[in-house]
Amino acid sequence: MSSEQIIFYILSFWFIASSLAMIFARNAAKAVLFLVLGFFSAASLWILLEAEFLAITLILVYVGAVMVLFLFVIKMLNIDKSTLRAKFAGYLPLGLIVALIIIAEMTLVLGGAQFGLEVMPSPAKHGADYSNITVLAMQLYTTYVYPFELAAVLLLIAIIAAITLVHKNEINRKKQSISEQVNVKAKDRVRVVSIASPSKENK
Amino acid sequence: MIDGIKKLAKNLTLSELRSGMKITAKEFVNTKITVQYPEEKTPISPRFRGLHALRRYPNGEERCIACKLCEAVCPANAITIESEMRDDGTRRTTQYDIDLFKCIFCGFCEEACPVDAIVETQIFDYAFESRDGSIMTKERLLKVGDDNEQVISKTKAQDAKYR
């Protein structure tokens, strides 16, 4: 076995192990951390395939931002495990059916017939001056420019929708205007009034 | 409108932040005012009220005549005095304790003393290592007085004209 294969098997083992641990972890925070470990293993596998850009982006977006927000939410929630468990058995048959369907679909789509070494040979090794990003950008901005732009517009719509949802009940909300607070000057708050001095009047 | 543009320009050029940083930069190169304490000391007023001392006359006789005026005037009840007649017929203290935990360093004992026996010195950096160390006995007070007589007489003379 070459060193590459050994590294591949180690990383794949970690990936599968951490994914399983994520599912079976009882503590939600630990589950998130196992998911992070899974992302790392996946990113390392991609680096093995010389897809550094995708690997780094996976870590940057998912580990650096999405999972942080997951942890953030988990800390805010007070999860009551007993109520979750109570309904577990009731959902079991439906869950099993869905899981089986997904497994069947994945074996059909991602099986050896489509992704085997005969169909997809391992990518050729490139020299040190090969830039993964340039090739990716060339593809994105020429061949796939319309799907790319469509996806961008879709995300923009999602952002606007999210912000609109937050601002739905604006009228009943008490909020501070920070820019007003920051830009306040002394003359906005204090009025200097000159009052005639009584001692002068007495003269 | 003009005000708004002015405000925006001021904010974007960070003018307020820059003026703040200018001040700290100026102080950065200024002469430092730190006093390197054990080596350097700030001047102390002759009226400074620090650790107590019992004085003696130049001939070696202790000044205190056990009149107990200081004990009476002490607002914190920090002074305890016991007295009896000495062989030569004068009244002297057998016990003169000041509890430094109680003492508030008001200087009333010094004011009340008719013979300038109890005084407060300029010593402020004293320490004790056990709880009973807080009690200044007669011996310790006399020792403080003996050790610092020169300084005490000098500061008292400096302050005398204002009394």
């Binding site: 076995m1 070459s2 060193s3 050994i6 503590n27 925070a29 630990k30 951390l33 992070v36 550094e52 850009f53 780094i56 982006t57 870590i59 940057l60 580990v63 650096g64 931002a65 942080v68 927000l69 942890l71 953030f72 800390k75 805010m76 040190a128 090969y130 830039s131 993964n132 990003i133 501070q176 920070i178 820019s179 607070q181 920051v182 | 960070l14 932040l17 703040g20 940083m21 001040i23 700290t24 930069a25 102080e27 950065f28 200024n30 430092k32 005012i33 730190t34």
Partner: protein, 359 residues
């Protein structure tokens, strides 16, 4: 010596054939890593000393001067104190996560340095996506703080961690957008290429066309490293010590190390992105260039980053702490629009080929 080394390499290759004869390469990488980390940790130690001195000077004091001549041994004394102190575990804390937190804080802070170019050809590794690597690994550091807050099972650490999580996520976006402008000019996300592109004197450095982005980057770096005036994560006056409350001894020291290593990194990054990295400021100035030609590039890089490190301390000595929601407003309503506007400005400048930067 050479023979011994060769026989060692051969022996290891025989024992472990799966290394494909790469033992020498691995050992060299390890030596490089040690040569990077040791000076880094020493710099961190003396950066804390410099911080106390500089802030002292700005407050008309003279700072630490008792341990060793002029206080030069102060950081070593501090390190010894922290090492010998007891590590206290909160009674209902999650011990594994509690200990994992400082590790997750320090590991990325050191790992990021792998791609930092100190001079032409002086780096641990030349990754093609090194700028993204810096951002990605740098963003992992937040896990240390979040886990510290969560695993301590204590309310102030939790509050600090919540603040930290939302702050870091929002300011990562700002830093990312600010650095997009740099990438647009350089046409590369490789730090080596970005520095090489700024060759040819001060006029070619990126801080001239990207001046607002440089300021935004620096301010966001203050937030990312939890430094004053944005140190709401610690916030001594409001939440005691934030995430550090339950940490003592060496576990606290590790957080401390991570924070300062990150600060130094941000200073070096600012120089690499906007101030020409290892290039001499006298390039293209005739006589001056030849006078300073003997100075190695790494000296220029370190000198320039020292200025930014000083700026960190200067800012800390000057400004009071921001209120939490004001920092959030600064990120989303001020910095983000500004960076996006500047991306369009840079795009325009690229199209019009303005100055030496967009040739």
């Amino acid at each position: 010596m050479m023979e011994l080394w060769q026989s060692f390499v051969l022996g290891v290759n025989e024992l472990m054939p799966w290394f494909d004869g790469n033992v020498a390469a691995i050992v060299i990488i390890l030596i490089k890593a040690v040569a990077l980390i040791m000076p880094l940790l020493l710099t961190v130690a003396y950066f804390t000393y410099a911080e106390r001195k500089v802030i002292g000077y700005m407050q008309l004091r003279i700072g630490p001067n008792r341990v060793g001549p002029k206080g030069w041994l102060q950081p070593i004394a501090d390190a010894l104190k922290l090492m010998t102190k007891e590590i206290i575990f909160p009674s209902k804390a999650n011990i594994y996560l509690f200990l994992l937190a400082p590790i997750l804080a320090i590991a990325p802070a050191i790992a990021v340095w792998a791609v930092v170019p100190f001079d032409e050809g002086i780096y641990v590794t030349n990754l093609d996506v090194s700028l993204l690597y810096v951002l990605a690994i740098g963003s992992i550091g937040v896990y240390g703080i979040i886990l510290a807050g969560w695993a301590s099972n204590s309310k102030y650490p939790l509050l600090g961690a919540l603040r930290s999580a939302s702050l870091l996520v929002s300011y990562e976006i700002v830093i990312g957008f600010a650095l997009v402008t740099v990438v647009m000019i350089a046409g590369s996300v490789n730090l080596n290429t970005i520095v090489a592109d700024q060759q040819g004197g001060i006029v070619n450095w990126y801080f001239i066309p990207l001046f607002p982005m440089m300021i935004i980057f620096f301010i966001s770096a203050l937030v990312e490293t939890n430094r004053a005036p944005f140190d709401v994560v610690e916030g001594e006056s409001e939440i005691v010590g934030g995430t550090h409350v339950e940490y003592s001894g060496m576990t606290f020291a590790v957080f401390f190390l991570a924070e300062y290593a990150n600060m130094i990194l941000m200073a070096v990054l600012a120089v690499i992105m906007f101030f020409g990295g290892w290039h001499s400021p006298f390039e293209g100035l005739g006589v001056l260039e030849s006078v300073f030609a003997w100075v190695p590039g790494i000296v220029w890089l370190l000198a320039k980053s020292t200025f930014f490190m000083f700026l960190y301390l200067w800012v800390r000595a000057t400004f009071p702490r921001f209120r939490y929601d004001q920092i959030m407003r600064l990120s989303w309503k001020v910095f983000l629009p500004m960076t996006i506007i500047w991306i369009f400005v840079v795009a325009l400048m690229t199209q019009l080929h303005i100055g030496p930067w967009f040739a």
